[in-house]
Each structure stands twice: as C-alpha cells, then as structure tokens.
C-alpha cells in the first residue's frame, strides 16, 4: 500500500491546520446565521430562537427601504447578467471561431484585463466617465456600470467551454445542410450552454454583491442591498442586518448549487 505513505492526512499538523482554516472561513458566517434567529435586541446575547428579525426585515420600520433596495439589486443583477452574458457569448464566438486574426491576443487581453484592475480604480474611472458625459447618477448608471464590469466574469467560463468544443461539430452541421445560423443555434449554442449558464450565474452573483462601484455611481436615494446594508450598519448593527445577510447567503448557496448540478449533468451526456 504505497498510496498510504503519501496520504496527505498523515502529514504532521494536517488536522489542526484544517480546523484553523475552516474556522476562519466559516465561523463568522455561522455566527451571523445563528444570531439572525435570536429573539434578543442585542447582537451578542442569545435569548432564544425566533423569526422576529426576519419579520422585522419585511414589516419593520426599515422594510420599505430594504424592499426597494432588494428590488433594485435583483433587477440590476438580472438585466446586467443577461446583457453581459449575451455580449460575452458573442465575443467568445467571434474570438474563438474567427480563426487567427491579427489582434486576437490583444483582444483577449483587453477583455480579461478588468479582472485584474483594482475595483476602486474602475469605480473612480466609471464615476468620472459618467460625470464627463453628463449622465445623471441613478438606477441607469448603476445598471450600465454593472453590465460593463460583469462582461469579463461572464466571458471566462464561456470561452473556456467554447475552447473545448471542437469546430468539427459545426462543420458536420454545415456538411449536413445547416445554414451558419442553424449551425450556431442548433449545435454550438447547446454545446456551450453549461458555460453560458455558469457565466450568467457568476455575473449575477458578482452584480448582486457589488459594493464599491455601485457606491460610487449610484445617485442619492437609489440604493442596492449592499449599499443599503452599509448605510444601516453605519447607524449601528441591528440583528435585522444579520437576517438580510443570511438570506443573501442562502441565495448565493442556491445559485452555486444550481451551477454545480448543471456542470454535473453535462458530464453525463
């Protein structure tokens, strides 16, 4: 059993290290989740199990503000992710299927560079851009900014998937009398679908979660969930913030799970 001797679980310090990492990663999340079900007004003293703060989120004094922020967040995330995914799909098709063109490497660099630019720089630049063209800040500016910064995130999984789809499938379709459009919609698009869905979910989460850029380009009075939460926290942390955070966490977990099952079902076919 030579395999056993190289078993990483037998390395000294493996167990304490694992526990330390898991604790650092998950303890805060677990604490927030548990305390969101606390019936106390305090965020640290446990008094008993209750859904009080969840009710408060939906009916309390701040309910209107949070509902509007949540609506903004979800519609922006949905529209931005859809638009960015469409653009990224077309970009990937062009980049990978157009053969060797001169500026291909440069184009690829330009699409993926925003992933490496510090977000604060993008935020400032976007704000200056909107100001200089005289855009009034509000819902539209947030949406446009989100579409722009979601494109590279959507592009990565889509182009990775497309590189794995050989072009002989499209050639076979053309050979079997399909038009170029039919070869795209009936063959390439279905084969790329797992990548497109991953790209969409990633863009959706990134948009939903964004704080820095949103905070810069949003106008007065227009809030998304992250900026609304930040605003509320500035006045002191109340347990209803933990309830909202827990719900956001649940949404993320659901989306990651969907993404996981889609990639798994794809492996089977």
């Amino acid at each position: 059993m030579t395999k056993r001797t190289h078993d990483i679980r037998r390395y000294p310090g493996f167990l304490p290290m694992t526990i330390l990492c898991l604790t650092l990663l998950y303890a805060p999340l677990i604490v927030v989740t548990i305390y969101s079900f606390n019936s106390s007004n305090s965020i640290t003293n446990w008094e008993g199990l209750s859904l009080r703060w969840y009710v408060d989120v939906f009916t309390g004094p701040e309910a209107e503000k949070f509902k509007r922020a949540a609506w903004n967040s979800f519609t922006i995330a949905l529209i931005a992710a859809t638009t960015a995914t469409t653009i990224a799909t077309l970009a990937a098709t062009g980049m990978i299927r157009a053969g060797q063109f001169k500026l291909r490497t440069l184009s690829f660099g330009l699409i993926s560079l925003p992933l490496m630019v510090p977000e604060i720089v993008t935020a400032v630049a976007t704000l200056i851009f909107f100001n200089s063209i005289g855009f009034v800040r509000g819902y539209t500016t947030i949406l446009l900014a989100h579409i722009a910064f979601c494109i590279p995130f959507a592009y990565m999984p889509i182009s990775a998937r497309m590189q794995g789809v050989e072009d002989t499938y499209e050639q076979a379709a053309l050979d079997l009398y399909a038009s170029k459009r039919q070869a795209f919609t009936k063959i390439l698009l279905p084969l790329m679908m797992p990548g497109i869905i991953s790209g969409f979910l990633l863009a959706f989460i990134i948009s939903l979660d964004d704080f820095i850029i949103t905070n810069f380009v949003k106008g007065a009075g227009v809030e998304t969930l992250p900026t609304a939460i930040f605003g509320a926290v500035k006045q002191g942390i109340k347990p209803n913030i933990m309830a909202i955070s827990t719900m956001l966490l649940a949404v993320s977990i659901i989306m990651v799970t969907i993404s996981y099952f889609i990639s798994k079902s794809d492996n089977k076919t």
């Binding site: 050989e166 002989t168 499938y169 050639q171 076979a172 379709a173 053309l174 050979d175 079997l176 009398y177 399909a178 038009s179 039919q182 009936k186 063959i187 279905p190 084969l191 076919t269």
Partner: protein, 367 residues
C-alpha cells in the same frame, strides 16, 4: 471492370489541375483526377500527403488555390458546404453529443426542410441498414467506437448525397472490427449506388475495397488505377514500395533488344524484363520483384540462375518469408504460401538454394 478514365457523362467529381497552398507551403500540387459515378474510389498515401486537404476542398471547407473542382459537370468553387450534395464521415465522427442517435441521423433531412416525421422515419430506416435500431434513443457517448462509426455513416447517408466522403473512418477501430467494416462499407456502397471517396493510409484497406485507387505522396498524384493494376504494375519506386511488399533491386541496364532489357545486378547475375520508354543502356534503374512471385529450389529451373544461402525464415501466418543472401549480390525476400509447403521443400538457414522467378515478375522502375 471500370475504365481507367471514365466517360465524361458519368463523372461524379472532376478534379482539374488543383493546387492548394497554405502560405508558402504547397499541400497539393497540380492534382488531376476524375471519379466516376457509383465508384468506390480511394485516396491512398502516407500521413501528411494531402488526402484530408483534398477531401475538405470537395466538401467545401477549404478554398482551392488554383484549378477547379466539378461536381457532375458543375463548377462548385462558389458553393458553400451546405449547398453541396456531398456528405462527410469525419475522422473522429463528430456526432452531435447533445442529440440522440436518431436526432443525429435525422439532422441532415431536417435541415433540408423535410418534416420532422419524415426525417425520423428515414433515420429509422438508416439505423436499420447499419443494424443499430436498438440504440436509437441513446446518446453518442453511450455507444462503442464501432457503433459510433456506423451512426456517422447512417447520418451521412440519410440525406442521400450524390457523393460520400469518408476520411479514414476505420482507423479508430480494432483490427477485427476494421476488417468486418470493410465488407459492410463495400456492400453498403453497392446497395446505395452512391459514389464513395474513401481516404486511408492503409494499403490493405485500399486494395480490398476500392474500384480504383489514387496513390498520393507529398501532395502529388503518383498513380491512378484499379487495385490490381497498381499492385502488379506500379509506375514508380514510391508506389512499388508503398503498396504491398517488394524486393527493390538496384541494377544497371546492360542492353535493350526487342523490347526486353537485360539488367546487371552485380555478381554475375543478369535479369531480363520488359523495357520502358526513356531508359537506355547504361542507365541506373531499379527492379521491383514481388516476393510471392519468386520460388526456391535445389537446382536451377530458370535462365536467371540466382544462387544464394538462406539467412532466415520468418513465419507470418499464411506465408513463410525466406531471406536469401545471393552469392556476391544483395539480399532478396521470397514468400512461400503455407499451403504450398507440402509440395515445396522448406530450406533451413544456411542451406544453398536457387531463387527462381516467374515470367514477367521483374518490373523496371525509374526514380
């Protein structure tokens, strides 16, 4: 028997002085050949000689640099692949992984605008033809390599193309299956009457299946003809070497009389063979002699009088190959069929033997 040059009216594909260049690299050079309707035509040549390139130009996936390709008399240069009545069985099959076997086979007909019902009925018939009806609802990944190969065949045949292109369709299969598929393909071609253009680098495959074979090397046509002609009358050294096994002997032409050339093989040996145009006395040429047209004996039975000693015997199933080192001459390989063994003696290594040649066995070749 099909004529070497088909009649104009029955030409399916006419390739006229076609050259293909990728940048400065010439993949095909002045290729000219005519493929008859209903013919099983094979493009045979070593890896990289341009077989796939020619096939892709017929299918429409590659531009023609120079020359023209005609399909039933029509120039097809400006027809995109989806407008050509030609279907392809791809080397890696390229079955659509997200569609069932039936949907794969029905795809071509649906794209041609047939109703879904008609396309599926026809797909069912095609699957019956290739004996895969029971797998109709599976995905391609749930089939073995041989089954996938037959789905690819059914898919390409379903729209009833006028010409079917097959790019090394058997190369991914194991030997037994490959041999079985040769007969299936051949009989499928006869049943459907569709012109098959078959690409392979396996000479045995080419010899057993084809009506005619085009032997290619380095982007140039080396020889075109029926399997038997190519095997028995190779035009040049490349063809003689590539098709089957042969003894290629370096000789000097001594003299030519009455259409017969007498060649000096070194030692005291002189071999005679039919003279060919452009070869005169003193020329350095080659003689090709197939090993199965030589036989061994204790005493000389022909005029050539080749003598030597057995170096080794190699058992290869149906035959035994004997390597003989000629006295003062080169080595020569003699092939004796196992069924002849009763009548002819086996010579052990070290034995002195005479090597005899059937009349007309030696062919004179220039480089």
């Amino acid at each position: 028997m099909i004529n070497t040059t088909p009649e104009k009216s029955q030409i399916a594909v006419d390739i006229n002085h076609v050259t293909k260049r990728y940048g400065t690299f010439t993949a095909l050079q002045h290729m000219s050949l005519s493929i008859a309707d209903n013919e099983f035509f094979t493009l045979l040549g070593p890896s990289g000689c341009g077989k796939t390139t020619l096939l892709r130009m017929i299918a429409g996936f590659e531009d023609v640099t120079e020359g023209e390709i005609y399909l039933f008399g029509d120039e097809i240069e400006n027809l995109p692949p989806n407008k050509r009545p030609v279907n392809t069985v791809f080397q890696n099959y390229a079955l659509f992984p997200h569609m069932s076997v039936t949907d794969n086979v029905a795809f071509g007909l649906e794209m041609l605008g047939r109703s879904k019902a008609e396309a599926r009925t026809r797909a069912g018939e095609m699957l019956e033809l290739v004996q895969l009806s029971q797998f109709a609802n599976r995905k391609p990944s749930q089939l073995s390599g041989g089954q996938q190969q037959r789905v690819a065949l059914a898919r390409a045949l379903a729209p009833q193309p006028k010409v079917l292109l097959l790019d090394e369709p058997l190369s991914a299969l194991d030997l037994k299956l490959r041999q079985a598929m040769r007969y299936e393909l051949k009989s499928l071609q006869r049943e459907t009457g569709i012109t098959f253009i078959f690409v392979t680098h396996d000479q045995e495959e080419a010899l057993t299946m084809s009506d005619r074979i085009a032997v290619m090397s380095n982007g140039e046509l080396q020889q075109l003809g029926a399997a038997r002609d190519i095997y028995e009358a190779p035009h040049n050294v490349f063809v003689a070497n590539f098709i089957g096994e042969t003894n290629l002997l370096d000789v000097t032409v001594k003299h030519i009389t009455g259409g017969r050339a007498t060649c000096d093989l070194g030692g005291d040996y002189a071999l005679s063979c039919d003279a060919i145009d452009g070869v005169s006395a003193g020329a350095q040429v080659h003689l090709s002699v197939r090993p199965e047209r030589l036989y061994l004996s204790e005493t000389a039975t022909d005029a050539e009088g080749l003598e030597g000693r057995v170096r080794d015997n190699i058992f290869i199933g149906t035959d035994i190959q004997t390597i003989v080192a000629l006295n003062n001459g080169p080595e020569i390989i003699v092939r004796t069929s196992n069924s002849d063994r009763g009548s002819s003696r086996i010579f052990e290594p070290g034995n002195a033997v005479h090597v005899n040649m059937e009349a007309g066995a030696a062919r004179l070749l220039v480089d």
